[in-house]
């Protein structure tokens, strides 16, 4: 993977939240006063933080939070792969599906039946939602590297602000984001 950065005034960072809890994004905000430094370091491109929805230029680094549980997730992840020079799986859900992947040992039909047709909290007859605006669910929740090529991983649930900060800084100067022992945690 070429780590040469796109020529902009500042390197660019895109982030997305697929099937996850947004905790990894919150953790990125959890770097205290360094957030001012972050603003100096990178320009935010597509991201829930600035609400930019679509790519209109190549981006240096993409952070993926969350796994792929439905067809929209897959499409968004592919978009990120297409536009980001370096794509990073951030956090447990992107890396192994995380909490949403608890359903992975159960078939999709059983899972939907249990939730919508005979869940203990249902009143009356349930129905499986089927609006055409709802994306179809995948048979299981996929980690992002099983869907597109992923260049690096930043583990954690979420990765700590320090871990994200160190990882991002390393990437921006063209290094591998090797985290020290105290920052590399799967949980």
């Amino acid at each position: 993977m070429s780590a040469t950065l796109v020529k902009h005034a500042k390197p660019t960072l895109a982030t997305c939240a697929l099937t996850g809890c947004f905790g990894c994004h919150m953790s990125l905000l959890d770097i205290d006063e360094r957030i001012l430094e972050l603003v100096d370091l990178v320009d935010l491109d597509v991201s829930p933080f600035d609400d930019k929805k679509a790519f209109d230029r190549p981006v240096d680094v993409g952070f993926i939070e969350g796994g792929c549980s439905n067809e929209y997730n897959v499409r968004e992840l592919r978009e990120f792969r297409k536009h980001c020079r370096i794509l990073v799986s951030v956090g447990a859900c992107a890396i192994n599906g995380g909490v949403p992947a608890m359903r992975n040992t159960i078939s999709l039909r059983d899972c939907l039946d249990a939730v919508y047709l005979h869940g203990v909290s249902l009143q009356g007859d349930g129905v499986i939602p089927n609006d055409e605006d709802l994306p179809l669910l995948l048979d299981r929740v996929y980690p992002s590297h099983e869907v597109v090529k992923i260049d690096y991983f930043l583990p954690g649930c979420p990765p700590s602000g320090d871990a994200l900060w160190e990882g991002l800084k390393a990437l921006l100067i063209g290094n591998k984001p090797d985290l020290p022992y105290l920052l590399c945690k799967y949980e």
């Binding site: 608890m102 040992t105 799967y186 949980e187």
Partner: protein, 240 residues
């Protein structure tokens, strides 16, 4: 009569050993850490996990079941062995269901700690997502098969130390599972929370209920220092 000691070398370091010691035991005493998973100091070695595989006299052998012998030449800390051990740890991660974020053993889990120590950032082999039901039939102990890595520690401990044979394997190959000595589950066995078998699980398959978060995350065995640091601390200084 004290049996005569002898020496062998591991990664070029001379280690003294006594007859009857395994390579792993002798190296532990000398403060040289060989990564291992299924091995437990209080139990007979089973050679199950193969993580302690070293290159011994030119052949790959598990250090826990290889008797130390005079003049052995052993490689332990090499890039190839580390990569192979990491691959084995990764296989265990994708074979079972190991969700560290919501697992009670995080920070205290030997599988996880070996992942860190051996440089596994994230498993990339395909996850297998086996369906493995939880056995919650015992009042004091939960048996979470998702986490089981089939290391055989509990089987050995229950048979040889508790004299109970609560555990065994069932099936073979990728379908192999930990089994208990009662059709009704762990609750119908002789298992007690004070059994040796309840305390030797390297992961969170056998969990004693109501005690899980007494030590908070961040202050657990492997939170601050890598697994094996205690053994390495025994080695005051390199042999000249």
């Amino acid at each position: 009569m004290v049996a005569e000691s002898f020496s062998f070398t591991i990664d070029g370091i001379v280690v003294q050993a006594r007859p009857g010691q395994s390579v792993l035991q002798a190296c532990d005493e000398a403060g040289i850490y060989i990564p291992r998973l299924c091995h437990h100091p209080d139990l007979a070695p089973s050679g199950a996990c193969r993580v302690c595989t070293c290159r011994i006299n030119g052949r790959n052998s598990a250090a826990c079941v290889t008797p130390a012998a005079p003049g052995m030449v052993i490689e332990n800390d090499t890039p190839l062995l580390t990569a192979d051990r990491r691959a084995v740890i990764e296989m265990l991660f994708v074979e079972g269901n190991h969700p560290c974020p919501y697992c009670v053993a995080s920070g205290d889990c030997e599988l996880q700690a070996l992942g860190y120590r051996l440089g596994m950032v994230a498993p990339v082999q395909p996850y297998q997502w086996p369906g493995r039901p939880i056995d919650a039939t015992h009042p004091d102990i939960a048996l979470d098969h998702d986490r089981c890595i089939l290391c055989a520690r509990c089987i050995e401990a229950s048979r040889m130390q508790d004299g109970k044979s609560v555990f065994g394997f069932a099936g073979r190959g990728i379908a192999m599972r930990l089994n208990v000595d009662a059709a009704g589950g762990l609750g119908d066995t002789q298992m007690a929370a004070i059994d040796k078998a309840a305390s030797v699980c390297p992961v969170a398959c056998i969990v004693i209920k109501r005690g899980s978060y007494r030590i908070p995350n961040g202050e657990r065995r492997f939170d601050k220092a890598p697994i094996g640091s205690d053994i390495e601390a025994r080695r005051a200084r390199p042999t000249p």
